[in-house]
Amino acid sequence: MVVIAEGLAGKKIVITGATGFVGTALVERLLRGVPDCELVLLVRDGRRTAAARRTERELLSNDAFDRLRSDLGKEGFSEMCARRVTTIAGDVSSDGLGLDEAARAVFATVDVVIHSAATVSFDSPLDQAVEINLLGPTRIASLCAELDITPHLVAVSTCYVAGNRRGTAPEQLVSDGPFDIGLDWRNEVTSARRLKGDTEAESRRPERLAEFRKRARAELGAAGAPALAAKTEQLRNRWVRDQLVAAGRARAASVGWPDAYAFTKALGEQALTESRGQVPVSIVRPSIIESAWAEPRPGWIRGFRMAEPVILSYARGLLKEFPGVPEGTIDVIPVDMVVAAIVAVAAAGPDDAPPITQVASGGINPLRYRALVDNVSSWFTAHPLYDNEGQPIIVPEWSFPGRGRVQTQLTRAKAVITRAESALQSLPLRGRQAELAANLETRRMEVERALEYVELYGLYTECEAIYQVDNLLSLWDRLPENDQRDFAFDPRLVDWPTYINEIHLPSIIEHARVKTTPGRAKTTDRTARLRRQVLDPARQVAAFDLENTLIASNVVANYSWLATRRLDRGERLRYVARTLAEAPSLLRLDRRDRTDFLRHFYRRYENAPIEQIEEDVAAMMTHLVLTKSFPEGIRRVREHRAAGHRTILITGALNFNVAGLRPLFDEIVAAEMSVRHDGTLSGEMTTVPPTGEARAQLLADYCEAEGFRMEECVAYADSSSDLPLFEAVGFPVAVNPETRLAAIARKRGWLVEHWAKAPGGPRPLLPIAPFGDERLRRGGR
């Protein structure tokens, strides 16, 4: 007889992976169901958050604890946590678990270690999977040896360590079974580490780096050196990761496992068994863990597991087919049963617990693939998701195709979309058309994801192994009745149609925040909310770019207007012809480096009498600037002022050209040109206009000088070259974004505004001054 409360009474239990899906449920169940035990949580320090803070934020605030919180009251719950839960900072991927002296001292006093930390993602890079899944358990065992303690180590593994095989998979080590091919885990560790090093080296080869840089430039445009560098490095890291993911998948497949996860877990079991020394070990192997059957409440789930993305893609109409054998078994097990089994194994103690316990449903209460699909499709027919137009999405008929066919279809779809996308990317699009391209990108990412699901999970749906659960059932039989009630883990208790229709699907739909009601999408609500945030009086500064953000014009148009104002008809024609001929080279220069372009272009103002320019600029304000302005943009500037924000214009235009906008802004940062003694312009800039990352710096300096905070700044700009600025402020607003920026803005959830010229205004064909003021042409003054 195993009595759980007795078995764990007064025990100190270390739990790794407490912030994960199983870990959360485990901590909750122990706190609620085993009142007399103490928990030590081994949690990694986050990048910004200390381990203890992570316990608070990522674990104890989870809705799994709602039940406890309401039972004990808020205070009572905190009091209990303070009394029974200790957090130590540590990391299973480093030797000695990265514990400091104090943590080691705590660790030295424990009775049970439940190791549930793992990288469960099926597409982890090989090196990471090796460090965590393979070496993690071994490191715990070595630490115990080092500290000279022998706690009961309960290691959570997976049924899929059995690999790709048909027939029954017993509760024994793979290396003890008939299909062992004699892999040495140490060799795998060495090779994975070497591969990581090689890949890192390969990624730094000049050709590779040039390629990353090129791609970064293509993605960002002229965003300035620091942004480009950051992006390049990001691309390099991603490349390394992708290589290692592919390597993991390939290595696993080559030796008979569906993926790197199962492969490294299998070797991990082997390594642990070999290196455990005096530490008693029990292994618990769940199959596919899904939402809770009953505890802490039916349907409780944390994060997205394996089946959810597939089910949601199907419900969204994205995944029309998914490979699988209709009569195949899909081995799902609710998380609360896994947790109950772990607790029971721990309570049974090193002597009574089976060495390996599989927690799976396939052998005794199988869920057939066809039954799953039928239930899912009828459920979504009754409760459809809705698209952005508010129309219900009809779920497709499932045809149980082979994996190859689905992959081919998706690959083809991806190719088409990618081609269309790159075509659109290369067009000079802005505003709504650019959003189209961004939509296409979203679409491509969806297809890519679907393709990944098929590649990764397809194997699981085709898996025909049956996991034996003899040890599990014998443990079950040894439980007293009240423990069987409170710690139910008998897979036969699950009624699959009830589980799918009433527990799992409603739960994941709730979690996925998908549209489940008809009517138009609430994107406008989102925009309205972002607008309110942007105009909130708590904001302090609103910085605006000028060209294409507030005005559909540019420095060349300004110059042309001024240059032609006093020309006669023939001279005008010649001017227009000359400028058109120069346009391509100007454009090229502008694309390469904005500052160089401005310096080069502004030479043209040399020798212009400043007095005449100032007079002409006033006329230009009406004829060019206002005509081409975006009234909503101008209104926004004024709304910011009304809200008490400082408004700043940051532009590459010459200061006299934007003088007419003065009343809108508290501060105008523009290019300035020196004036000679004879009252003519020198053509040389005394203040170089800030571009790219210099704008971010400028705003930061301004904020510092004026005592404002960048997090309370709003920045409006139209181009991806303003990314550094966008990233520096708290509230970026992309105005009429070009394709690249539209895509970025969408990903980051930035406010996007589509501002247009007033449709009733005049639309001159060319930005040249109106022909007809005789007095001016005669030479004026």
């Binding site: 009406t622 004024r638 009343p663 639309r763 003021d773």
Partner: protein, 528 residues
């Protein structure tokens, strides 16, 4: 002898009627036996020698000494003139104002006056472009006065150059242009196209400040202005005349010159516009068809440019000068002679075609706010006695009414449409909640003063202009307008005239009487 205006009863043989539809036209058949059409009078003959008539008026003014005897060397003379809101369409050169001001300047030169300022009395309207000043005043005046800065435009926001002349017994403050107030003589050159213009209104609105204008340009006054064309029953004009008395008693000496023009608003290619449909010749029909089809195929932007370039062959029908009040009474006689059409009784439905132009969009686009202003403000007010439509009746207009605005001329209109009309269409409410914010807005002030924008508060005034009509009509329907925009104005969109009649039947029953106000040209219905 030109034929007077008259009322045609529509029967089965009556051809379809011409409606303006912005920059286009449409022909609409009105239901027989219960519809009538009010036609304006044909153009009265012009003066044979306008320049001689002007000289005559200046030498023999009404209730004042002849102009030459008011002029002497060393004096400060200020000449004010109506801005681009008059006439519509713009007058073929030479404009009456050019003729008048040249005559005045000649006399001033003879008298040795050298301190002369010429000021465009634009009130809160937009500043005129140089080419508009040149068109109205002629090259000679423009080139002589503009470069030296002696020809300029009134600035209602230049507070250093505004002075308070006094208060009326109703507590209305008269605040006007300093130069005008401090002149020895102010001459005002008017073009009196409709009965609303002229009299004390010329100076009291043309060179006043926002503060001064807000005493009468407000919802209450305009709801009690019955009508704008009948100053004796207009709260707006009463207030202006009270201010006029202050100006008369404590202001500079004013020499008012008013000139009237006839109804000859469109040059020959558009003859069919002013003809009566059943009198159209084969040639008229052909021109109409050709013009109308061509316009349907012309982009609106281009059509707008064509229409705004039209110069009207107006002829001057009278000119009188002297003491403002006497002059204005004489002017009204002449205006009425051209405009008044006697009409028997009111009607259930009033139909009107809204043209491409209103006083507030010369060289620009008729935006939705101005459509309201033109329909319910101007055309609805073309009556004396009682409105053409009965109280609670229906007004049907035809206009494309798209959400388009001119960014240079009408910046505050854009925000007014998006912000204010989204909140309320009620003049009193908007006046309370929004008017001050727009009137005192720094950016609008900047654009009004340095650019060519109407004053920030102007869209409110345009809206108040229709306040009486809005209050009076039970429903307003716009045929062929953009539905969302029309709804924002508080009106009902209809796609065809038949739909409009159908919608109107909910308000006025199944067989209402219909009256169509034939535009162009201008007429004032004298409703008994």
């Amino acid at each position: 002898m030109p034929r007077p205006g008259f009322v045609l009863d529509v029967d089965r043989s009556t051809p379809p009627m011409l409606f303006w539809h912005g920059e286009r036209f449409s022909l609409e058949r009105l239901p027989a036996d219960r519809s009538r059409v009010i036609y304006p009078a044909e153009p009265l003959p012009g003066l044979a020698d306008p320049d001689a008539a002007i000289r005559q008026a200046l030498l023999q003014p009404l209730d004042m000494e002849p102009l030459p005897s008011l002029l002497h060397a060393g004096m400060r003379l200020t000449i004010c003139f109506d801005d681009a809101s008059l006439s519509l369409p713009k007058m073929r050169r030479p404009d009456s104002r050019q003729r008048i001001i040249e005559a005045v300047l000649d006399m001033a030169a003879e008298a040795g006056v050298d301190d002369v300022h010429i000021i465009a009395a634009l009130g809160l309207h937009r500043r005129m472009h140089d080419y508009e000043l040149r068109h109205v005043l002629g090259d000679r005046i423009f080139d002589a006065f503009h470069p030296s800065g002696a020809l300029y435009q009134h600035d209602a926001e230049d507070h250093a150059n505004l002075v308070v002349l006094g208060e009326t017994d109703h507590g209305e403050v008269l605040e006007i242009n300093r130069r005008v107030a401090e002149s020895d003589l102010v001459v005002y050159a008017n073009v009196n196209q409709v009965a609303m213009d002229g009299g004390w209104k010329s100076l009291v609105t043309g060179v006043a400040s926002y503060r001064c204008l807000s005493h009468h340009h407000n919802p209450e006054s305009l709801q009690n202005t019955r009508s704008l064309m009948d100053r004796h029953h207009s709260a707006l004009h009463h207030s202006i005349w009270r201010m006029g008395a202050v100006l008369r008693d404590s202001g500079p000496k004013v020499f008012q010159i008013e000139s009237t023009i006839n109804n000859d608003a469109f040059p020959s290619p558009f003859d069919f516009l002013s003809k009566r449909e059943w009198e159209w010749t084969g040639r008229d029909r052909a021109t109409f068809l050709a013009t109308s089809k061509a316009l349907d195929r012309t982009p609106r932007r281009l059509a707008r440019r064509i229409f705004h370039s039209i110069e009207a062959p107006y002829a001057m029908t009278s000119v009188q000068a002297g003491f403002t009040e006497t002059v204005h009474e004489r002017t009204l006689e002449h205006v009425h002679a051209q405009h008044i059409v006697p009409v028997e009784g009111q009607t259930d439905i009033l139909t009107m075609g809204i043209p491409f132009i209103s006083p507030y969009n010369p060289e620009s686009i008729m935006n939705p706010v101005l459509v309201m202003c033109m329909g319910l403000g101007y055309l609805f007010n073309m009556y004396r006695g009682r409105p053409l439509v009965r109280e609670g009746g229906v007004v049907i207009m035809t206009h494309p009414t798209t959400k388009e605005f001119h960014p240079v001329h009408h910046p505050s209109y854009i925000d007014f449409f998006d912000e204010v009309l989204a909140d309320t269409t009620d003049p009193a409410e908007m006046s309370q909640r929004w008017e001050r914010k727009y009137a005192e807005d720094e950016w609008y002030r900047h654009l009004y003063r340095t650019g060519n924008a109407y004053h920030g508060v102007h869209p409110f005034y345009a809206w108040y202009w229709g306040a009486h009509g809005q209050q009076w009509a039970g429903r307003v329907i716009i045929v062929g307008g953009d539905p969302a925009t029309v709804r924002r104005l508080g009106f009902t969109p209809a796609s065809t005239m038949d739909d409009a009649f159908e919608l109107a039947s909910e308000v006025v029953g199944r067989s209402p009487t219909i009256t169509h106000l034939h535009v162009p040209s201008v007429l004032v219905a004298d409703v008994h």
